[in-house]
Protein backbone atom coordinates (compact mmCIF):
# COMPACT_ATOMS: atom_id res chain seq x y z
CA UNK A 1 0.00 0.00 0.00
CA UNK A 2 1.17 3.51 -0.74
CA UNK A 3 1.09 6.22 1.95
CA UNK A 4 -2.02 7.66 0.26
CA UNK A 5 -3.75 4.28 0.43
CA UNK A 6 -2.76 3.87 4.06
CA UNK A 7 -4.23 7.31 4.76
CA UNK A 8 -7.52 6.25 3.11
CA UNK A 9 -7.54 3.11 5.21
CA UNK A 10 -7.07 5.07 8.45
CA UNK A 11 -9.88 7.39 7.42
CA UNK A 12 -12.07 4.35 6.83
CA UNK A 13 -11.26 3.05 10.32
CA UNK A 14 -11.99 6.45 11.88
CA UNK A 15 -15.33 6.60 10.09
CA UNK A 16 -16.13 3.20 11.49
CA UNK A 17 -15.19 4.15 15.06
CA UNK A 18 -16.70 7.65 15.06
CA UNK A 19 -19.46 7.74 12.43
CA UNK A 20 -20.72 11.13 13.64
CA UNK A 21 -17.40 12.93 13.12
CA UNK A 22 -16.85 15.09 10.06
CA UNK A 23 -13.52 13.85 8.76
CA UNK A 24 -13.48 16.07 5.65
CA UNK A 25 -11.57 18.84 7.43
CA UNK A 26 -9.08 16.60 9.21
CA UNK A 27 -5.65 18.25 9.40
CA UNK A 28 -2.96 15.61 8.95
CA UNK A 29 -0.32 17.33 11.06
CA UNK A 30 -2.61 18.09 14.06
CA UNK A 31 -3.16 15.45 16.77
CA UNK A 32 -6.37 13.42 16.43
CA UNK A 33 -7.10 14.19 20.08
CA UNK A 34 -7.27 17.91 19.35
CA UNK A 35 -9.62 17.57 16.39
CA UNK A 36 -11.79 14.58 17.23
CA UNK A 37 -13.45 13.50 20.47
CA UNK A 38 -11.43 10.32 20.76
CA UNK A 39 -10.65 8.71 24.10
CA UNK A 40 -8.19 5.98 25.00
CA UNK A 41 -10.77 3.31 24.13
CA UNK A 42 -11.00 4.73 20.62
CA UNK A 43 -7.22 4.72 20.19
CA UNK A 44 -7.14 1.08 21.17
CA UNK A 45 -9.72 0.52 18.46
CA UNK A 46 -7.49 1.96 15.75
CA UNK A 47 -4.84 -0.55 16.78
CA UNK A 48 -7.37 -3.40 16.95
CA UNK A 49 -8.85 -2.60 13.55
CA UNK A 50 -5.38 -2.55 11.96
CA UNK A 51 -4.75 -5.97 13.39
CA UNK A 52 -8.13 -7.28 12.29
CA UNK A 53 -8.05 -5.88 8.77
CA UNK A 54 -4.36 -6.11 7.87
CA UNK A 55 -2.71 -8.29 10.49
CA UNK A 56 -0.51 -5.34 11.41
CA UNK A 57 0.64 -5.53 15.03
CA UNK A 58 1.30 -2.26 16.80
CA UNK A 59 3.07 -2.92 20.12
CA UNK A 60 1.81 -0.94 23.10
CA UNK A 61 5.02 1.12 23.38
CA UNK A 62 4.38 2.45 19.85
CA UNK A 63 0.80 3.69 20.47
CA UNK A 64 2.19 7.22 20.76
CA UNK A 65 3.15 7.05 17.06
CA UNK A 66 -0.56 7.12 16.20
CA UNK A 67 -1.12 10.63 17.54
CA UNK A 68 -1.88 12.37 14.23
CA UNK A 69 -2.68 11.26 10.70
CA UNK A 70 0.78 12.28 9.52
CA UNK A 71 2.65 10.38 12.24
CA UNK A 72 0.37 7.36 11.80
CA UNK A 73 0.99 7.13 8.05
CA UNK A 74 4.74 7.61 8.56
CA UNK A 75 4.79 4.89 11.20
CA UNK A 76 2.69 2.43 9.20
CA UNK A 77 4.32 2.91 5.78
CA UNK A 78 7.19 0.43 6.33
CA UNK A 79 4.80 -2.03 8.05
CA UNK A 80 2.17 -1.92 5.30
CA UNK A 81 4.16 -1.25 2.11
CA UNK A 82 4.04 -4.89 1.02
CA UNK A 83 0.29 -5.28 1.60
CA UNK A 84 -2.13 -5.10 -1.31
CA UNK A 85 -5.06 -2.73 -1.08
CA UNK A 86 -8.20 -4.84 -0.68
Amino acid sequence: MTPAEIRDEILDILEDIAPDEDLGDLKDEVAFREQLELDSMDFLDIVMELRKRHRVQVPEEDYGQLASMQSTVTYLTPLMKDLQKA
Binding site: D16, I17, A18, P19, D20, E21, E37, D39, M41, D42, L44, D45, M48, R51, K52, E60
Partner: protein
Protein backbone atom coordinates in the same frame (compact mmCIF):
# COMPACT_ATOMS: atom_id res chain seq x y z
CA UNK B 1 -11.72 -24.39 22.23
CA UNK B 2 -13.16 -20.90 22.71
CA UNK B 3 -10.99 -17.82 22.97
CA UNK B 4 -13.38 -16.46 25.61
CA UNK B 5 -16.30 -18.06 27.47
CA UNK B 6 -18.70 -15.47 28.90
CA UNK B 7 -21.00 -16.35 31.80
CA UNK B 8 -24.34 -14.50 31.66
CA UNK B 9 -26.31 -13.05 28.73
CA UNK B 10 -27.14 -9.74 30.38
CA UNK B 11 -26.13 -6.34 29.11
CA UNK B 12 -22.49 -6.64 30.17
CA UNK B 13 -21.91 -10.18 28.87
CA UNK B 14 -23.51 -9.46 25.50
CA UNK B 15 -21.56 -6.20 25.09
CA UNK B 16 -18.29 -7.95 25.90
CA UNK B 17 -19.26 -10.69 23.46
CA UNK B 18 -19.77 -8.17 20.66
CA UNK B 19 -16.37 -6.59 21.25
CA UNK B 20 -14.57 -9.93 21.22
CA UNK B 21 -16.47 -11.40 18.28
CA UNK B 22 -15.91 -8.19 16.30
CA UNK B 23 -12.19 -8.77 16.67
CA UNK B 24 -12.52 -12.34 15.42
CA UNK B 25 -12.46 -14.21 18.70
CA UNK B 26 -14.37 -17.43 19.05
CA UNK B 27 -16.82 -16.53 21.82
CA UNK B 28 -19.65 -18.31 23.59
CA UNK B 29 -22.11 -16.62 25.96
CA UNK B 30 -23.69 -19.02 28.48
CA UNK B 31 -27.00 -18.17 30.13
CA UNK B 32 -28.63 -20.24 32.87
CA UNK B 33 -32.09 -18.80 32.27
CA UNK B 34 -34.27 -19.56 29.26
CA UNK B 35 -34.07 -15.96 28.11
CA UNK B 36 -31.55 -13.15 27.81
CA UNK B 37 -31.21 -10.01 29.89
CA UNK B 38 -30.43 -11.04 33.46
CA UNK B 39 -31.59 -8.20 35.69
CA UNK B 40 -32.84 -6.22 32.70
CA UNK B 41 -35.22 -8.60 31.05
CA UNK B 42 -38.74 -8.77 29.75
CA UNK B 43 -41.66 -11.14 29.54
CA UNK B 44 -45.13 -11.52 28.15
CA UNK B 45 -48.07 -12.31 30.40
CA UNK B 46 -51.79 -12.27 29.63
CA UNK B 47 -51.15 -10.76 26.20
CA UNK B 48 -49.10 -7.86 27.59
CA UNK B 49 -45.42 -6.97 27.42
CA UNK B 50 -43.65 -6.33 30.72
CA UNK B 51 -40.15 -5.08 31.48
CA UNK B 52 -38.18 -6.13 34.52
CA UNK B 53 -35.15 -4.35 35.86
CA UNK B 54 -34.52 -0.68 35.50
CA UNK B 55 -37.24 1.86 34.92
CA UNK B 56 -35.18 4.03 32.62
CA UNK B 57 -32.01 4.05 30.62
CA UNK B 58 -29.84 6.48 32.60
CA UNK B 59 -26.85 8.36 31.12
CA UNK B 60 -29.07 9.59 28.31
CA UNK B 61 -27.40 12.17 26.07
CA UNK B 62 -28.96 13.51 22.86
CA UNK B 63 -27.85 12.57 19.38
CA UNK B 64 -24.56 14.18 18.45
CA UNK B 65 -23.19 14.28 22.03
CA UNK B 66 -19.60 13.06 21.84
CA UNK B 67 -18.82 12.76 25.52
CA UNK B 68 -20.30 10.48 28.13
CA UNK B 69 -20.85 6.74 28.46
CA UNK B 70 -23.67 6.49 25.90
CA UNK B 71 -21.59 8.05 23.11
CA UNK B 72 -18.63 5.91 24.12
CA UNK B 73 -20.52 2.62 24.00
CA UNK B 74 -22.18 3.41 20.68
CA UNK B 75 -18.73 3.95 19.13
CA UNK B 76 -17.26 0.88 20.75
CA UNK B 77 -20.10 -1.39 19.62
CA UNK B 78 -20.48 0.33 16.21
CA UNK B 79 -24.13 1.22 16.80
CA UNK B 80 -25.85 4.32 15.53
CA UNK B 81 -27.56 6.56 18.11
CA UNK B 82 -30.89 5.74 16.45
CA UNK B 83 -30.41 2.01 17.03
CA UNK B 84 -31.42 2.34 20.69
CA UNK B 85 -34.53 4.44 19.84
CA UNK B 86 -34.30 6.39 23.08
CA UNK B 87 -37.06 8.84 23.92
CA UNK B 88 -36.28 11.29 26.76
CA UNK B 89 -38.28 11.54 30.00
CA UNK B 90 -41.01 14.12 30.58
CA UNK B 91 -39.73 14.97 34.06
CA UNK B 92 -39.17 13.40 37.46
CA UNK B 93 -39.67 14.28 41.12
CA UNK B 94 -38.01 13.73 44.46
CA UNK B 95 -40.95 13.80 46.87
CA UNK B 96 -40.50 14.25 50.63
CA UNK B 97 -43.34 15.24 53.00
CA UNK B 98 -42.87 19.02 52.89
CA UNK B 99 -40.68 19.59 49.85
CA UNK B 100 -40.61 18.33 46.29
CA UNK B 101 -37.75 18.78 43.85
CA UNK B 102 -38.46 18.44 40.13
CA UNK B 103 -35.70 17.53 37.71
CA UNK B 104 -35.36 16.80 34.02
CA UNK B 105 -32.56 15.80 31.72
CA UNK B 106 -29.61 18.12 32.27
CA UNK B 107 -28.99 20.16 35.42
CA UNK B 108 -30.99 23.28 34.64
CA UNK B 109 -34.31 22.41 36.29
CA UNK B 110 -32.72 20.86 39.38
CA UNK B 111 -30.53 23.92 39.90
CA UNK B 112 -33.57 26.21 39.65
CA UNK B 113 -35.56 24.02 42.05
CA UNK B 114 -32.77 24.02 44.63
CA UNK B 115 -32.40 27.80 44.30
CA UNK B 116 -36.15 28.19 44.86
CA UNK B 117 -36.64 25.69 47.69
CA UNK B 118 -33.25 25.78 49.40
CA UNK B 119 -32.12 29.35 48.67
CA UNK B 120 -29.50 29.26 51.43
CA UNK B 121 -27.88 26.19 49.79
CA UNK B 122 -27.49 27.61 46.29
CA UNK B 123 -23.76 28.27 46.55
CA UNK B 124 -23.11 25.06 48.46
CA UNK B 125 -24.75 23.11 45.65
CA UNK B 126 -22.38 24.76 43.14
CA UNK B 127 -19.44 23.71 45.33
CA UNK B 128 -20.75 20.16 45.34
CA UNK B 129 -21.02 20.25 41.54
CA UNK B 130 -17.39 21.31 41.30
CA UNK B 131 -16.35 18.33 43.42
CA UNK B 132 -18.37 15.97 41.26
CA UNK B 133 -16.96 17.36 38.03
CA UNK B 134 -13.43 17.08 39.45
CA UNK B 135 -13.88 13.43 40.30
CA UNK B 136 -11.99 11.28 37.80
CA UNK B 137 -13.88 8.05 37.32
CA UNK B 138 -10.91 6.38 35.69
CA UNK B 139 -8.82 6.80 38.84
CA UNK B 140 -9.78 3.82 40.98
CA UNK B 141 -7.98 5.13 44.06
CA UNK B 142 -10.58 7.83 44.55
CA UNK B 143 -13.56 5.51 44.45
CA UNK B 144 -14.04 4.71 48.16
CA UNK B 145 -14.74 7.33 50.78
CA UNK B 146 -17.97 8.41 52.42
CA UNK B 147 -20.46 10.36 50.35
CA UNK B 148 -22.27 11.43 53.50
CA UNK B 149 -19.03 12.94 54.82
CA UNK B 150 -18.49 14.92 51.60
CA UNK B 151 -22.12 16.07 51.53
CA UNK B 152 -22.26 17.21 55.14
CA UNK B 153 -18.98 19.09 54.66
CA UNK B 154 -20.53 20.95 51.71
CA UNK B 155 -24.27 21.30 52.33
CA UNK B 156 -25.57 22.50 55.69
CA UNK B 157 -29.26 21.57 55.29
CA UNK B 158 -29.68 17.88 56.13
CA UNK B 159 -32.98 17.69 54.22
CA UNK B 160 -31.31 18.61 50.93
CA UNK B 161 -28.64 15.96 51.56
CA UNK B 162 -31.32 13.29 52.06
CA UNK B 163 -33.23 14.44 48.99
CA UNK B 164 -30.14 14.28 46.76
CA UNK B 165 -29.15 10.86 48.09
CA UNK B 166 -32.60 9.32 47.66
CA UNK B 167 -32.67 8.89 43.84
CA UNK B 168 -28.95 8.19 43.56
CA UNK B 169 -29.00 5.45 46.15
CA UNK B 170 -32.20 4.01 44.72
CA UNK B 171 -30.70 3.74 41.24
CA UNK B 172 -27.36 2.19 41.99
CA UNK B 173 -26.08 1.89 45.55
CA UNK B 174 -25.12 -1.60 46.68
CA UNK B 175 -23.95 -0.37 50.09
CA UNK B 176 -26.35 0.19 53.00
CA UNK B 177 -26.62 3.62 54.73
CA UNK B 178 -23.76 5.39 52.93
CA UNK B 179 -22.40 5.36 49.38
CA UNK B 180 -18.90 5.22 47.89
CA UNK B 181 -18.09 8.74 46.70
CA UNK B 182 -17.02 7.42 43.29
CA UNK B 183 -20.34 5.65 42.88
CA UNK B 184 -22.14 8.83 43.97
CA UNK B 185 -20.35 10.90 41.31
CA UNK B 186 -21.08 8.35 38.59
CA UNK B 187 -24.75 8.19 39.59
CA UNK B 188 -25.05 11.97 39.95
CA UNK B 189 -23.75 12.50 36.42
CA UNK B 190 -25.85 9.73 34.94
CA UNK B 191 -29.13 10.90 36.54
CA UNK B 192 -28.90 14.64 37.19
CA UNK B 193 -26.41 15.80 34.53
CA UNK B 194 -27.31 13.38 31.73
CA UNK B 195 -30.75 11.88 32.29
CA UNK B 196 -33.49 9.33 31.71
CA UNK B 197 -34.81 7.85 28.47
CA UNK B 198 -36.55 4.72 27.27
CA UNK B 199 -37.18 2.98 23.94
CA UNK B 200 -40.89 2.87 23.09
CA UNK B 201 -40.61 -0.92 22.79
CA UNK B 202 -38.83 -1.21 26.14
CA UNK B 203 -35.60 -2.85 27.18
CA UNK B 204 -36.19 -5.75 24.80
CA UNK B 205 -35.27 -3.51 21.88
CA UNK B 206 -31.77 -2.91 23.26
CA UNK B 207 -31.27 -6.55 24.19
CA UNK B 208 -32.44 -7.81 20.82
CA UNK B 209 -30.07 -5.39 19.07
CA UNK B 210 -27.18 -6.67 21.16
CA UNK B 211 -27.98 -10.32 20.48
CA UNK B 212 -28.52 -9.76 16.77
CA UNK B 213 -25.18 -8.01 16.47
CA UNK B 214 -23.38 -10.64 18.54
CA UNK B 215 -24.72 -13.49 16.40
CA UNK B 216 -24.03 -11.67 13.12
CA UNK B 217 -20.37 -11.51 14.17
CA UNK B 218 -20.29 -15.28 14.65
CA UNK B 219 -20.82 -15.32 18.43
CA UNK B 220 -22.59 -18.30 20.00
CA UNK B 221 -25.34 -17.86 22.61
CA UNK B 222 -26.42 -20.88 24.65
CA UNK B 223 -29.58 -20.46 26.77
CA UNK B 224 -30.58 -22.91 29.54
CA UNK B 225 -26.85 -23.43 29.99
CA UNK B 226 -26.02 -22.79 33.63
CA UNK B 227 -22.40 -23.18 34.64
CA UNK B 228 -22.05 -25.84 37.32
CA UNK B 229 -18.32 -25.16 37.85
CA UNK B 230 -15.25 -23.50 36.42
CA UNK B 231 -12.46 -26.02 35.79
CA UNK B 232 -9.07 -25.01 37.16
CA UNK B 233 -5.72 -26.57 36.35
CA UNK B 234 -2.25 -25.37 37.39
CA UNK B 235 -3.64 -22.11 38.74
CA UNK B 236 -5.55 -21.22 35.56
CA UNK B 237 -9.15 -21.54 34.43
CA UNK B 238 -9.34 -24.05 31.57
CA UNK B 239 -13.05 -24.22 30.90
CA UNK B 240 -16.49 -24.80 32.37
CA UNK B 241 -18.78 -27.71 33.16
CA UNK B 242 -22.45 -27.00 32.48
CA UNK B 243 -25.37 -28.20 34.61
CA UNK B 244 -26.04 -30.73 31.83
CA UNK B 245 -22.57 -32.21 32.31
CA UNK B 246 -21.32 -30.86 28.98
CA UNK B 247 -17.78 -29.44 29.14
CA UNK B 248 -16.50 -26.43 27.22
CA UNK B 249 -12.85 -25.40 26.96
CA UNK B 250 -11.81 -21.77 26.92
CA UNK B 251 -8.58 -19.81 26.98
CA UNK B 252 -10.16 -17.28 29.32
CA UNK B 253 -13.45 -16.75 31.14
CA UNK B 254 -15.37 -13.55 31.68
CA UNK B 255 -18.14 -13.80 34.27
CA UNK B 256 -21.04 -11.47 35.00
CA UNK B 257 -22.37 -13.81 37.69
CA UNK B 258 -21.09 -11.63 40.55
CA UNK B 259 -17.89 -11.85 42.59
CA UNK B 260 -18.94 -14.29 45.32
CA UNK B 261 -21.09 -16.23 42.86
CA UNK B 262 -18.20 -16.61 40.37
CA UNK B 263 -15.55 -17.55 42.93
CA UNK B 264 -17.89 -20.17 44.34
CA UNK B 265 -17.96 -21.84 40.90
CA UNK B 266 -14.18 -22.30 40.84
CA UNK B 267 -12.99 -25.85 41.51
CA UNK B 268 -10.00 -24.65 43.52
CA UNK B 269 -12.09 -22.76 46.07
CA UNK B 270 -13.84 -24.62 48.87
CA UNK B 271 -15.18 -21.71 50.91
CA UNK B 272 -16.29 -18.22 49.99
CA UNK B 273 -17.08 -15.31 52.25
CA UNK B 274 -20.80 -14.95 51.65
CA UNK B 275 -20.90 -11.88 53.86
CA UNK B 276 -19.45 -10.00 50.89
CA UNK B 277 -22.63 -10.47 48.86
CA UNK B 278 -24.98 -7.52 48.47
CA UNK B 279 -27.98 -7.00 50.76
CA UNK B 280 -30.20 -4.60 48.86
CA UNK B 281 -33.08 -6.33 47.12
CA UNK B 282 -36.44 -5.09 45.93
CA UNK B 283 -40.01 -5.94 45.13
CA UNK B 284 -41.78 -4.35 42.24
CA UNK B 285 -45.54 -3.98 42.08
CA UNK B 286 -46.82 -3.50 38.55
CA UNK B 287 -50.30 -2.12 37.89
CA UNK B 288 -51.94 -2.11 34.47
CA UNK B 289 -54.48 0.71 34.18
CA UNK B 290 -57.53 1.21 31.99
CA UNK B 291 -56.31 4.74 31.16
CA UNK B 292 -53.05 6.47 30.38
CA UNK B 293 -51.61 7.84 33.67
CA UNK B 294 -51.73 11.35 32.18
CA UNK B 295 -55.53 11.06 31.96
CA UNK B 296 -55.51 10.51 35.73
CA UNK B 297 -53.45 13.63 36.30
CA UNK B 298 -50.09 11.86 36.61
CA UNK B 299 -47.43 12.88 34.10
CA UNK B 300 -44.20 12.25 36.01
CA UNK B 301 -41.69 9.83 34.53
CA UNK B 302 -40.21 8.77 37.87
CA UNK B 303 -41.06 9.75 41.45
CA UNK B 304 -38.63 8.93 44.26
CA UNK B 305 -40.62 9.22 47.49
CA UNK B 306 -39.73 9.15 51.16
CA UNK B 307 -42.24 9.73 53.94
CA UNK B 308 -40.05 11.52 56.47
CA UNK B 309 -37.15 13.97 56.43
CA UNK B 310 -34.65 11.14 56.85
CA UNK B 311 -33.98 8.64 54.07
CA UNK B 312 -33.20 5.10 55.23
CA UNK B 313 -31.27 2.98 52.73
CA UNK B 314 -31.04 -0.40 54.39
CA UNK B 315 -32.40 -3.90 54.23
CA UNK B 316 -35.64 -4.10 56.27
CA UNK B 317 -35.06 -5.61 59.69
CA UNK B 318 -38.59 -6.38 60.84
CA UNK B 319 -40.76 -7.01 57.79
CA UNK B 320 -40.76 -8.31 54.22
CA UNK B 321 -40.65 -4.77 52.79
CA UNK B 322 -39.97 -1.21 53.92
CA UNK B 323 -42.93 1.06 53.15
CA UNK B 324 -41.20 4.34 54.03
CA UNK B 325 -39.57 4.88 50.64
CA UNK B 326 -40.08 3.75 47.07
CA UNK B 327 -39.82 4.57 43.38
CA UNK B 328 -42.81 5.08 41.10
CA UNK B 329 -42.25 4.82 37.36
CA UNK B 330 -44.62 5.12 34.48
CA UNK B 331 -43.24 3.91 31.13
CA UNK B 332 -46.05 5.90 29.50
CA UNK B 333 -44.54 9.18 30.63
CA UNK B 334 -41.72 9.58 28.12
CA UNK B 335 -41.64 11.90 25.12
CA UNK B 336 -42.17 9.26 22.46
CA UNK B 337 -42.29 10.12 18.77
CA UNK B 338 -45.73 11.06 17.55
CA UNK B 339 -45.46 8.18 15.08
CA UNK B 340 -45.26 5.77 18.05
CA UNK B 341 -48.42 7.05 19.69
CA UNK B 342 -49.18 5.93 23.25
CA UNK B 343 -48.28 2.61 24.85
CA UNK B 344 -51.27 0.26 24.63
CA UNK B 345 -51.94 0.28 28.39
CA UNK B 346 -51.32 2.61 31.27
CA UNK B 347 -48.59 1.15 33.49
CA UNK B 348 -47.38 2.13 36.94
CA UNK B 349 -44.43 0.27 38.46
CA UNK B 350 -43.55 0.78 42.12
CA UNK B 351 -40.35 -0.50 43.69
CA UNK B 352 -39.78 -0.99 47.41
CA UNK B 353 -36.85 -2.27 49.47
CA UNK B 354 -37.27 -5.90 50.49
CA UNK B 355 -35.65 -8.43 52.81
CA UNK B 356 -34.63 -11.33 50.57
CA UNK B 357 -34.18 -13.83 53.43
CA UNK B 358 -37.77 -13.37 54.60
CA UNK B 359 -39.12 -13.64 51.07
CA UNK B 360 -37.13 -16.76 50.30
CA UNK B 361 -38.16 -18.49 53.53
CA UNK B 362 -41.87 -18.38 52.62
CA UNK B 363 -43.75 -21.52 51.61
CA UNK B 364 -45.42 -21.45 48.22
CA UNK B 365 -48.84 -20.60 49.69
CA UNK B 366 -47.45 -17.95 52.02
CA UNK B 367 -45.52 -16.45 49.11
CA UNK B 368 -48.69 -16.01 47.04
CA UNK B 369 -50.51 -14.45 49.97
CA UNK B 370 -47.66 -12.09 50.91
CA UNK B 371 -47.39 -10.90 47.33
CA UNK B 372 -51.03 -9.82 47.41
CA UNK B 373 -50.68 -8.28 50.86
CA UNK B 374 -47.53 -6.25 49.99
CA UNK B 375 -48.87 -5.21 46.62
CA UNK B 376 -51.79 -3.54 48.43
CA UNK B 377 -49.55 -1.94 51.05
CA UNK B 378 -47.12 -0.68 48.41
CA UNK B 379 -49.82 1.02 46.36
CA UNK B 380 -51.37 2.52 49.49
CA UNK B 381 -47.97 3.90 50.45
CA UNK B 382 -47.27 5.33 46.97
CA UNK B 383 -50.61 7.10 46.49
CA UNK B 384 -49.65 9.41 49.34
CA UNK B 385 -47.41 11.05 46.71
CA UNK B 386 -49.27 10.65 43.39
CA UNK B 387 -52.95 10.61 42.30
CA UNK B 388 -54.82 7.56 43.61
CA UNK B 389 -55.12 5.24 40.60
CA UNK B 390 -56.55 2.24 42.43
CA UNK B 391 -59.97 2.45 40.78
CA UNK B 392 -58.39 1.99 37.34
CA UNK B 393 -56.32 -1.15 37.85
CA UNK B 394 -57.22 -3.94 35.40
CA UNK B 395 -54.27 -6.28 35.93
CA UNK B 396 -51.30 -6.65 38.28
CA UNK B 397 -48.05 -8.50 38.60
CA UNK B 398 -45.28 -8.42 41.16
CA UNK B 399 -41.70 -9.47 41.30
CA UNK B 400 -39.78 -10.13 44.48
CA UNK B 401 -36.22 -10.98 45.59
CA UNK B 402 -37.03 -14.58 44.64
CA UNK B 403 -37.68 -13.50 41.06
CA UNK B 404 -34.49 -11.43 40.91
CA UNK B 405 -32.51 -14.37 42.26
CA UNK B 406 -34.00 -16.62 39.56
CA UNK B 407 -33.14 -14.21 36.75
CA UNK B 408 -29.71 -13.06 37.94
CA UNK B 409 -28.49 -15.87 40.22
CA UNK B 410 -27.12 -13.15 42.51
CA UNK B 411 -26.98 -14.06 46.21
CA UNK B 412 -29.84 -12.42 48.17
CA UNK B 413 -31.40 -11.26 44.89
CA UNK B 414 -29.02 -8.30 45.29
CA UNK B 415 -29.96 -5.90 42.53
CA UNK B 416 -26.79 -3.81 42.55
CA UNK B 417 -24.49 -6.66 43.57
CA UNK B 418 -21.84 -6.56 46.28
CA UNK B 419 -20.85 -3.35 48.12
CA UNK B 420 -17.13 -3.91 47.48
CA UNK B 421 -16.60 -3.49 43.74
CA UNK B 422 -13.80 -5.16 41.80
CA UNK B 423 -13.07 -2.20 39.56
CA UNK B 424 -10.17 -3.79 37.69
CA UNK B 425 -12.20 -6.94 36.98
CA UNK B 426 -9.50 -9.34 38.19
CA UNK B 427 -9.92 -12.48 40.33
CA UNK B 428 -7.55 -14.97 42.01
CA UNK B 429 -7.07 -16.68 38.63
CA UNK B 430 -5.04 -14.86 35.93
CA UNK B 431 -7.47 -15.67 33.11
CA UNK B 432 -10.81 -15.32 34.94
CA UNK B 433 -12.34 -11.84 34.92
CA UNK B 434 -15.48 -10.13 36.21
CA UNK B 435 -17.82 -7.80 34.38
CA UNK B 436 -21.27 -6.44 35.25
CA UNK B 437 -22.59 -5.11 38.56
CA UNK B 438 -19.81 -6.47 40.78
CA UNK B 439 -17.13 -4.94 38.57
CA UNK B 440 -18.64 -1.59 39.39
CA UNK B 441 -20.81 0.06 36.78
CA UNK B 442 -24.58 -0.22 37.16
CA UNK B 443 -27.58 0.71 35.06
CA UNK B 444 -28.17 -0.35 31.49
CA UNK B 445 -25.52 1.91 30.00
CA UNK B 446 -23.14 1.24 32.89
CA UNK B 447 -23.40 -2.54 32.47
CA UNK B 448 -22.72 -2.29 28.76
CA UNK B 449 -19.69 -0.08 29.41
CA UNK B 450 -18.51 -2.58 32.03
CA UNK B 451 -18.56 -5.43 29.50
CA UNK B 452 -16.75 -3.32 26.92
CA UNK B 453 -14.04 -2.02 29.24
CA UNK B 454 -13.21 -5.38 30.80
CA UNK B 455 -13.12 -7.03 27.36
CA UNK B 456 -10.75 -4.27 26.18
CA UNK B 457 -8.51 -4.40 29.23
CA UNK B 458 -8.17 -8.13 29.69
CA UNK B 459 -9.38 -10.04 26.66
CA UNK B 460 -8.14 -8.12 23.62
CA UNK B 461 -4.56 -7.13 24.45
CA UNK B 462 -2.16 -9.86 23.55
Amino acid sequence: MYDTIIIGAGMSGLAAGIRLAHFNQRVCVLERHYTIGGLNSFYRLGGRDYDVGLHAVTNFTPKGAKKGPLARLLRQLRFKWEDFSLSPQIGSTIAFPDVQLQFGNGLELLEAEIAAKFPAQKDAFQQLLAKIIDYDDLDENNFGGSTRAVLSATISDPLLIEMLLCPLMWYGNAREHDMDFGQFCIMFRSIFMEGFARPFAGVRLILKNLVRRFRSLGGELKLRSGVERIKVKDGKAIGVVLDSGEELEGRRILSSAGLVETIRLCEDITEVDEQQAGQMSFTESISILDKQPKQLGFDRTIVFYNDSDTFHWQRPTDALCDMRTGVICSPNNYMYDESDGDLPDGVIRITTIADSDRWMALSEDEYKLEKLRWYDRTIASAVRFIPDFRGHVIDTDMFTPNTIRRFTWHDNGAVYGAPEKRLDGTTHLPNLFLCGTDQGFVGIIGSIVSGISIANQHCLRE
